[in-house]
């Protein structure tokens, strides 16, 4: 079954201020859906709300994963379902090594931890230290293989999570994490911003490989540039807390040409013909 993530008439606020004002959007496995919109229109907020950020309050609508609401799930439970958010601004966490963190994450998402817990409950025995983790050798092998494939320096494994990473390194780190966690649906929040040409190609290749492997992606971007590498099936325009227009790749080209001013001038018309899914 191909997984789908459906956002239905989603309203969300932060500190009493409404940011999402009725978002409708569908992301399917194996599909790239680009989302473009002006600064401050609420794109990152949408990503946070899908991932379950506790700071944002959902005041209406729903988010369905394979038809089931995920609104009551904690962020880690959503991650275990196969939802991934590549952050626009990944946080740096001092003292936590990239490899240790990622091993814990992979172990949790792939069920090592739950199996260890079940085993303990079944046998009544205390489990061994580390049994809730993916075996070190296997993990390292896979990590290094993917680091090579996604052009991330192996030295990253020992560095602290995003601590002192350059902007581009952080973005590549996010894509590497995604490659390790193998999500069904990923929201990529400006994974292309701040990348040099080579890095853009590496990141795009990474995304393409994962999509070819069945991942669905919501690609939030300001630039046509990445869409030359990662071909979207759909392009949606986000404006003032809503998706106001959905179409094919031609929508991105049109935006590039006419800018958001055009959208603003045609809002009334767009509202009259609700966005196509």
């Amino acid at each position: 079954m191909t997984a789908t993530l459906e956002v239905k008439d989603l309203h969300a606020s932060v500190e009493g201020k409404e940011i999402l004002k009725g978002v409708n959007l569908t992301i399917r496995q194996g599909e790239v859906h680009a989302l473009m919109g002006p600064n401050g229109s609420g794109k990152s907020t949408l990503g946070y709300v899908i991932a379950g950020h506790p700071h944002y309050e959902v005041t209406g609508g729903d988010i369905l994963f394979n038809g089931e609401s995920i609104l009551d799930l904690a962020p880690d439970e959503r991650a275990k379902l196969g939802i991934f958010l590549a952050f626009q601004y990944p946080v740096a966490i001092p003292g936590v090594s990239f490899a240790n963190f990622l091993r814990a994450a992979v172990s949790s998402v792939r069920g090592y931890k739950d199996r260890a817990k079940e085993e303990m409950a079944r046998t009544g025995q205390l489990r061994e230290v580390g049994s809730e983790l993916m075996p070190m050798r296997e993990f390292r092998q896979e990590l290094f293989e993917k680091m090579d494939r996604y052009n991330v320096d192996r030295a990253f494994a020992r560095r602290y999570l995003n601590d002192g990473f350059s902007g581009g390194e952080k973005k590549r780190g996010e894509v590497l994490q995604m490659a390790m966690l193998e999500p069904k649906i990923a929201i990529l929040d400006e994974s292309d911003s701040g990348l040099d040409i080579d890095a853009l190609r590496v990141v795009s290749d990474g995304i393409n490989k994962l999509v070819a492997g069945g991942m669905g992606a919501l690609l939030i971007t300001h630039y046509q540039r990445i869409l030359d590498y990662v071909k979207p099936e759909k392009v949606s325009v986000f404006y003032d807390g809503r998706v106001v227009l959905t179409g094919g790749p031609e929508v991105a080209e049109m935006l590039e040409e006419k800018g958001y001013g055009w959208i603003e001038n045609h809002l009334a018309e767009l509202a009259a013909s609700p966005a196509q899914q």
Partner: protein
Amino acid sequence: MTTKTMTKDKISVAAVRRLSKRYNEPEWLRFARLMAWETFESLPWPTYKEETWRRTRLTGFKLEDYRLPAVDAALLPSRGALPEHLQQELAQIDSAGVLILQDGALIYRELDAALAQKGVIFTDLRGALAENVELVQVHLSALVRARENKFAALHYALWQNGAFLYVPRNVAIEKPLQVLIVQGEGLAGFHHSLLVGEENSEAVVVEDFVGSRQGMSDSVAEVFVHQSARMHYLRLQNLDKTAWNFATQRASVGRNALYRQLQASWGGKLSKVWIDLEMDEPGGHGELLGLYFPRDRQHLDHHTNQNHKEPRCTSDLLFKGALEDHARSVYQGMIHVMHGAQRTDAYQKNDNLILSDHARADSIPGLEIEADDVRCTHGATSAKVPEEYIFYLMARGLSRQTAKRMIVQGFFEEVINRVPVPGVRAKLETEIAHRVGIE
């Protein structure tokens, strides 16, 4: 181990006399003890009016509640004869020598024969007193004086035993030396550490305090790091959470010498620790590392001084603490740069991670500078675990608990990765994981 019923002894001047007599101590020592007792009696109990006691109260502490151990346990012949948990404790560190003291009695000792051959002395303080009395006499109480505070005075009246290390000139001990201090229930323990590194010597000492349920510990440490010597002193305070702990520690750092100390404070109902670094000769380098993690209603207080008396010394202090439940911590620190200590480079930093709405960390860093060509930096922070960190990790599939544990371990990493003994690093990491809670 032989299990004899211990007859216990009250704390009094008569006990001081009996103790000295029991060990047949030389006159100078008996005299020093009685003088210390007098000093103890003459000093008032601390009150909040003293700066160092402003945030730490002795309410509920009664000296009469504690007894002195009266009978010495016997020396055991091999590791195999030790209780299982002590054997495990020893196995965690690959060491060149071991001392285990139980309520003042040396119950086990090991020292690499090659080191003994080179003149290294690593024994209990009583043993040193018997075999190397001059060395003890020269160093004992040379750095920490009885009159310094009421607890130091009490210590000098009643110290039962301690760890003694003497590393001769040009001798480098590669593996760590391990000291285990085991204190019994309801007892008062007075452990004295005397560490001497002669010119261009090198040693790492790991000292671990355990036990003292419903008891008290009042220890003193004196560390002499002579010219170009390198000494690492790792003190792990793992006492029971019902214990009262008082400790006065001072190191004198010689010319171009290197000294690094770690204080890891886990246990104690209330703990008050003074740690002083004396930069006594030009060109020395001193580091003080601290790590504390109180929970429940524990109260842990660390008071440090970095005293720069001579030019071209560097000192570097980093104390990090996490607090759970209703715990309290106090960090008070001072960098003194005295007149003439030009080109001093001193650093002092205290960071606190507050894990509960009811926990509280006080931090009072300070500088006093009398020289003009110096570089001194100090700072303190206190923060909760940022929700953004938790969210980021949870969005990758970690449970809230695991996310929190990783963040707390990461917070302490800056201290832990400066600890030179892998076995100690592992112990610290395990302890932290247990405190945050492993699912």
